[in-house]
């Protein structure tokens, strides 16, 4: 049996009076890749940001219900603690422009004031960059600024930065939508690699990507989770008519 790592119980998210995520209940098994899909504006990003308490950073944003991480409610934990356990990668690569590639990887330690011996740092940097298949490309220019890399390399650097913190869960919000096809496929290969150690939750508009990379798919529609199941099942035989319409492209 797989164990559940993240579980949402009656989770609701609001922007002021705007009820954006409605009563979501979902169980996410450990070391799985979950694709989150649905039409634009249906609340995917909002839900994802609710999981690591990034949602509340927006003025006026509130949440109700529970998000359990290993049976502990993240809404009761300190957000900083939550974000150390649940990493996040954004739609647009956002390396710290003032830091070198090396420092970007260990930014979670460095900028949080956690002192590590040099050997330890070197190890984390090499390990994390190898993980995201970037080590060979940048090992000779670790002191260069992160913003000099190409978009795809920057995105992998951001993934390395999240991986370096050894979180349990990694959240991805349309991680390849700003990338070219080659970078996209590199990142997709990465997902397979990362799955061994982490649980991945990936928001994507790309159905092929969801089909290729995910074990399970969650389909959101107007703030509700309308269907959640094995990816194969969802794509071949969706239970809900709204899922079916979306997959066959019948939404405007």
């Amino acid at each position: 049996m797989e164990s559940t790592i993240v579980k949402a119980v009656d989770y609701n998210a609001y922007f002021g009076d705007n009820h954006v995520v409605k009563n979501v209940n979902i169980e996410i098994p450990r070391n799985n890749t979950i694709a989150v899909m649905g039409p634009s504006g249906c609340g995917k990003t909002t839900f994802l940001r609710g999981i690591n308490r990034m949602h509340e950073l927006i003025p006026g944003a509130t949440a109700k219900g529970k998000i359990l991480l290993n049976n502990e409610d993240v809404l009761e934990m300190h957000p900083i603690f939550v974000r150390l356990k649940i990493g996040m990668v954004f739609q647009r690569p956002n390396p710290f422009p003032n830091l070198s590639i090396y420092d970007n990887v260990i930014a979670g330690y460095k900028l949080n004031g956690i002192k590590l011996p040099k050997a330890e740092k070197d190890k984390i940097v090499e390990h994390s960059l190898t993980r995201v298949a970037l080590w060979n490309e940048v090992k000779d220019s670790l002191t260069k600024k992160g913003s000099f890399l190409s978009g795809g390399q920057q995105q992998r650097l951001c993934i390395a930065r999240a991986v370096a913190m050894e979180p349990e869960v990694l959240l991805f919000d349309e991680p390849t939508s700003a990338l070219d096809p080659i970078s996209t496929s590199t990142v997709e290969e990465l997902f397979h690699e990362l799955k061994k150690n982490y649980t991945l939750i990936i928001v994507t508009h790309n159905m092929q990507q969801a089909a290729r990379c995910s074990d399970k798919t969650a389909f959101f529609y107007m703030g509700e989770l309308v269907e959640y199941g094995e990816t194969k099942q969802m794509f071949t035989n969706p239970a809900d008519i709204r899922t079916q319409n979306y997959i066959t492209g019948r939404f405007s």
């Binding site: 990034m54 900083i80 710290f96 979670g108 913190m165």
Partner: protein, 281 residues
């Protein structure tokens, strides 16, 4: 080519010529001031001039050491007061765009920017000089700090607003607390804009005379006591240029030249900072 098109080309030429002519006209007054002051002042400047006190009337020679040191002390003190306040306020304004407090402090800062410097001088006089019973460099610094504040606040705020939210989100997503996000990510990324605001604010107050008239007051002797009257370059220029003595006029010209070089240097440093320390986003 039809006459009409020719006529339009001609009109366009005239217009172009006019813009060039007027741009040149804008540069002329500055050049005129520069040439005039440098001509009158540069010959007065030498090591003796910088390191000696003014001589009494009748004796030739003498320098502006007291005013130079006084200006440096007064401006340094004003910076120490205004820069931390200004940057922190700018951070607050950029982080809390919509709060009531931000609205009111933004309004106050804008109004402050428009308050004539002499009025700020009077306020410093009533706050500090009257209660303590003595003109002092400190009261002058406070007056100048109030003048610097709006420039530092606004340039910090505007610089930080230009930074993309994604930068802050990246920091928060790594579990960084608010103060570290500001100190380790936001400020380093905006440093060039903030520093150039600081530089410009210093350049702005360097020549201010009015607020110093009834605060720092001036002092013919060398003084480093910030609780006592102190000389400064603009005060020296004001007093000596309006005196009837030729030797004193020379000192005033030399001091003007120094002031001009000071402001030009600050402007050039600002340009260099923006170019060198700009964080490529």
């Amino acid at each position: 080519m039809s006459v009409h098109v020719k006529y339009r080309i001609g009109k366009s030429r005239v217009f172009q010529g006019l813009t060039i002519l007027l741009s040149v006209a804008c540069v002329v007054p500055l050049l005129f001031i520069l040439v005039y002051i440098i001509q009158a002042g540069i010959t007065k400047i030498n090591w003796h001039f910088l390191t000696n006190l003014p001589k009494p009337v009748g004796e030739s020679g003498g320098g502006i050491a007291n005013a130079l040191l006084g200006s440096i002390i007064i401006i340094a003190l004003a910076s120490v007061i205004a820069i931390p306040f200004g940057i922190l306020c700018g951070i607050y304004l950029s982080e809390n765009k919509k709060s009531k407090l931000a609205y009111w402090s933004r309004l106050c800062v804008d109004i402050l920017q428009g308050v004539p410097s002499i009025v700020i001088g009077i306020v410093a006089y009533f706050w500090l000089v009257k209660p303590t019973g003595s003109f002092s460099a400190l009261s002058g610094s406070v007056a100048l700090a109030i003048m610097m504040l709006p420039i530092v606040v606004r340039s910090t705020e505007e610089t930080l607003l230009l930074l993309p939210d994604s930068l802050k989100e990246a920091a928060y997503a790594l579990g960084m607390p608010f103060h570290r996000v500001i100190l380790k990510v936001i400020l380093p990324c905006g440093i060039s804009g903030i520093l150039s605001g600081v530089m410009l604010s210093i350049a702005r107050i360097t020549g201010e005379t009015a607020p110093l008239l009834f605060t720092a007051f001036g002092n013919p002797y060398l003084s480093t006591n910030i609780l006592k009257p102190m000389q400064s370059l603009p005060l020296l220029i004001f007093n000596y240029a309006t005196s009837p003595y030729n030797d004193w006029h020379d000192l005033a010209w030399g001091a003007s030249c120094i002031l001009l070089i000071w402001v030009l240097t600050l402007n050039i440093i600002t340009k260099l900072i923006t170019r060198k320390w700009k964080v490529q986003l």
